[in-house]
Each structure stands twice: as C-alpha cells, then as structure tokens.
C-alpha cells in the first residue's frame, strides 16, 4: 500500500519536475509541455544505428530509469511513507545512483556514434570527479544520526536541520548531486553545443522518452535525497509531513535546474581538479567538524 502511495506521489512529482525543467529550458510556463513532448516522442520513428550494440542500446534508458527508481525507494516522503527502510539506506541510495554512470556508459557506447561515445566517456570522467563527494557528506550526516537509516537521519534533524548543522556538507552534496544529474553547468554527457545531444543524440522515439523520464526521476530522487539529508525531510510546522517534503523537494529541484543555467559548462579536467584538490579536503574537514560537533553537543 505505501509503495503504491509512494509511486503515485513520485509520478506527480516527476510531472511537476518536467514542467519546471521545460519552464527553465524554454522560458514559459506551460503545464502541458511535458505531456505534449512525451506524446510527440512516442509518435516518432525509433531509429537504431546500423552497427549499434543492440544490448547496450536497448538497456541504457531502462537502466537509467531503474537506478533512479531504486534510489527513490529508500527516501522517506513521510514518517511511514517509504518503500523499504533499509538499515544501510543512505549507502544503498549511493549504490543505486552509481548505476546512472553505467547506464550513460552503455548509452554512449551502444549506438556506435562518435559524439555519443565521447559523451559517455565524459560522464565517466565526471563521475570519477564527484563520486567521493557524494559519499563523504552522507557519512557526515549518518554520523550525526548515528545510523544509516534514512528515517533515523530525518529524525535526527528534529532539533536542527543538517543544512545549518553542517552547511559545508550541504554545499558539497548539492554540487555533487547537480553533477550526478548532469544538469547544466555539469551537463557534459548531453552537451548541446558540442556533442549535439551527446548521449541522447542517437536516441529517438520511445527510447528517448524513457531516457528523458529516467532523467526526470533522477532529478526528483536527488532533490528528495537532499531534502531528506539536509532539509529535515518531512518535518515542518503546520503542513502535513508529505506536503512539507513535496514543497521542499520541488523547491530543491527548481533551484537545481535554475542554479547552473547562467554558468558556462565546466570542462572535465577542471571538474576533476576541483573535485579532488578542493572537494575532498573540504569533505574530510566537514566530517571532522561534524565529528567534533557530535562529540561536543549532547
């Protein structure tokens, strides 16, 4: 029963995110925009490149969608509204999201296209850059909650949201999340200007639709995760828990989509350099600080 509820709320969430994404990309708010584009995509002819690696070509969008959904499984939208409350929930989220990389690799290698391949390997380089940056803040959050259970983490933020408790961790996590969801300025795999759609370039028709859906779910999951770890999840004064989590998630998603629009696309080498030389030391520092805070504050 709860899974059904979660699924329902997810679809609504995804639709809204799609609307937001359409709004941010082409500037005007049309509530039906995602529906129209989805229908248009479904109508189009689905083309398969001649020398494509069929298995990879077919599996890539599906894998993207499933990994995003699996990620969503451990996110508590409300005190009881969670698919499975794994003991290592936070880690599981990360493990699930790791397969986004695999999906994009397969999408890049499958169609046997130069731009697609370059896009795919670019995303690998990008992942290597921020992979650690996602795990370490989550660890800091788990330290505060002394457990990997996502519900525990939300409960631990009752007094003080983690965004205030460990702001450094929040900033790093938020940037890593944007990179993982390859929204601009981190949209290296589907760089419009350079790679003409990159990984998405070869896909048409249903596969493209699924691909885009997967991406929307991914953005939603990441936003929800940010909310769970740093913005106190479903906790909020007046409104019911699910309303708070919905509002917060949509807000985070919107900021994600809007935040990077103005910045130029970051080149991979810079991303790697900042990730390792700047990001990881800060993350370690953050863990250190959280450790001190946890020991000091009762």
């Amino acid at each position: 029963m709860t899974t059904l509820l979660v699924l329902l709320s997810l679809t609504v969430g995804v639709y809204l995110v799609a609307v937001l994404e359409a709004w941010t990309t082409n500037g005007h708010f049309r509530i039906a925009a995602p529906l129209c584009s989805a229908l248009a995509l479904l109508g189009r002819e689905s083309i398969v490149p001649r020398k494509a690696d069929r298995i990879f070509f077919e599996a890539a969008p599906i894998l993207l969608l499933t990994s995003a959904l699996l990620g969503a499984a451990v996110i508590p939208l409300a005190p009881a509204l969670i698919v499975t409350d794994l003991a290592t929930g936070a880690l599981f989220l990360n493990a699930a999201l790791a397969y986004v990389l695999v999906a994009l690799l397969m999408a890049g290698w499958g169609p046997d296209g130069a731009y697609a391949m370059v896009g795919g390997w670019r995303f690998l380089g990008q992942v290597i850059a921020y992979a650690m940056l996602i795990v370490m803040p989550i660890m800091a959050v788990a330290m505060r909650a002394e457990s990997l259970l996502t519900t525990e983490i939300v409960a631990s933020q009752a007094g003080l949201w983690n965004i205030l408790y460990q702001p450094l961790g929040f900033v790093l996590f938020f940037a890593a999340a944007m990179a993982l969801a390859f929204v601009p300025p981190f949209d290296l795999p589907t760089a419009q200007g350079e790679l003409a759609g990159g990984v998405e370039g070869e896909y048409t028709g249903v596969r493209l639709a699924v691909f885009r859906l997967g991406r929307m779910v991914l953005i939603l999951t990441l936003a929800a995760a940010t909310v769970t770890f740093y913005l106190g999840g479903w906790q909020g004064p007046l409104l019911p828990p699910w309303a708070w989590s919905a509002i917060k998630t949509l807000a985070v998603a919107a900021t994600m989509l809007l935040a990077g629009r103005m910045m130029p696309r970051i080149r991979e080498a810079h991303l790697l350099a900042w990730g390792w030389k700047l990001g990881i030391p800060l993350a370690l520092l953050n863990i250190f600080l959280v450790g001190v805070l946890v020991l000091v504050l009762p």
């Binding site: 298995i55 003991a87 880690l91 790791a98 990389l101 695999v102 290698w109 390997w121 690998l124 290597i128």
Partner: protein, 173 residues
C-alpha cells in the same frame, strides 16, 4: 527442502558465473568489462541474499565505478575494443581450460568433503550488523584496517608514480 535464500543464492551465483564466462567469450572489450560488472553486481546481490547487507551494498557500489574504469582502460589499451574484427585474443587455451577445471573441481572437492561443523545461528539484523562491524573495525581490528588503508594509499601513489611520463629533464638526451 531448499530455502528461498538457497534459491536466491543459487540464482545469483549462476548469474555471476554466466556473466563471468561471458567476460572471456565476447570479442568486444567493453561488453566483457560490463559483463564483469554485472557479474560483480550479481555477487553483491548474493551477499544481500545472505543477509550481509552492508557488504552487498558496498560490493555493488564499488564494483560499478571500478568496472567502468576497467572498461575505459580496455578501450584505451586494446587494439580492437569494438570487437568487430573478431580477433583471437587468447593463447594456450587447452592448458588454461584444464587448469581452470582442475581448480574448480579441487575447490568443489574441498567444499564437499570437508566437515564444516555445525551451522551457525541466524545472523543479527542489518543495523546491528553494521554497528558491530563498525565497532570491530575501529576496535579490535583497528590495526589491520589502518594497514589496509595505508596499503591502498601506497598502491595509489605507486600506480601514479609508475604511470607518470618520465619528466623530460632538459639535461637528458
């Protein structure tokens, strides 16, 4: 007679082995790398089915990134990563086949003939497991874990040192 767990283990084990075999049978390098990836994931799933939750999740997470790196290295180093030229990449197949099967049979023999003693009780739930593992790691086996950490560090440094292009000092040549 066989429990659900046994079924799951058998299923995932079979998947892991099939993907393992696929690794060496495909001529396309990326496909073999990803086959290895999915085989490792299947092994991670086996861990989960054996209620070693933390380990399973860890395995799945790690192997994803590792094997994709492996994939990129394959592409970098192999002559024909796409595997389109159907190049024969193996040698002394007979000997290796024999030794592989001997190894398998030896291991199975050991597994079957050795008396493993009484089966253990049911394992604690995941959270407590993770907690105990955490305490174990930073408690009794602190030293072992530290050395493991340092080894990985040195390995990384060594690998980069080996891989770095020797600096073309102006004095040379």
């Amino acid at each position: 007679m066989i429990s659900a767990q046994g079924l799951f283990i058998a299923f995932f084990g079979l998947a892991a082995v099939c993907f393992g075999v696929a690794v060496f049978r495909t001529s396309s390098m990326v496909r073999s790398a990803l086959a290895l990836l999915f085989s490792q994931t299947a092994i991670g799933a086996m861990f989960l089915s054996m209620q070693a939750e933390f380990l399973g999740v860890l395995q799945i997470m790690m192997m994803a990134t590792e094997m994709s790196i492996m994939a990129i290295f394959m592409v970098m180093f192999m002559m024909d990563p796409g595997g389109l030229g159907k190049m024969e990449m193996t040698h002394q197949k007979g000997l290796s086949l024999i030794s592989g099967s001997i190894a398998f049979m030896a291991a199975v023999a050991v597994a079957v003939f050795v008396d493993w003693g009484p089966g253990g009780a049911s394992p604690p739930d995941a959270a407590r497991q993770t907690r105990e593992l955490g305490i174990e790691l930073l408690g009794r086996s602190m030293l072992i874990f530290e050395t493991a950490g340092i080894t990985i560090l040195t390995a990384m440094i060594a690998a980069t040192a080996v891989a770095i292009q020797p600096l073309k000092r102006s004095g040379d040549r």
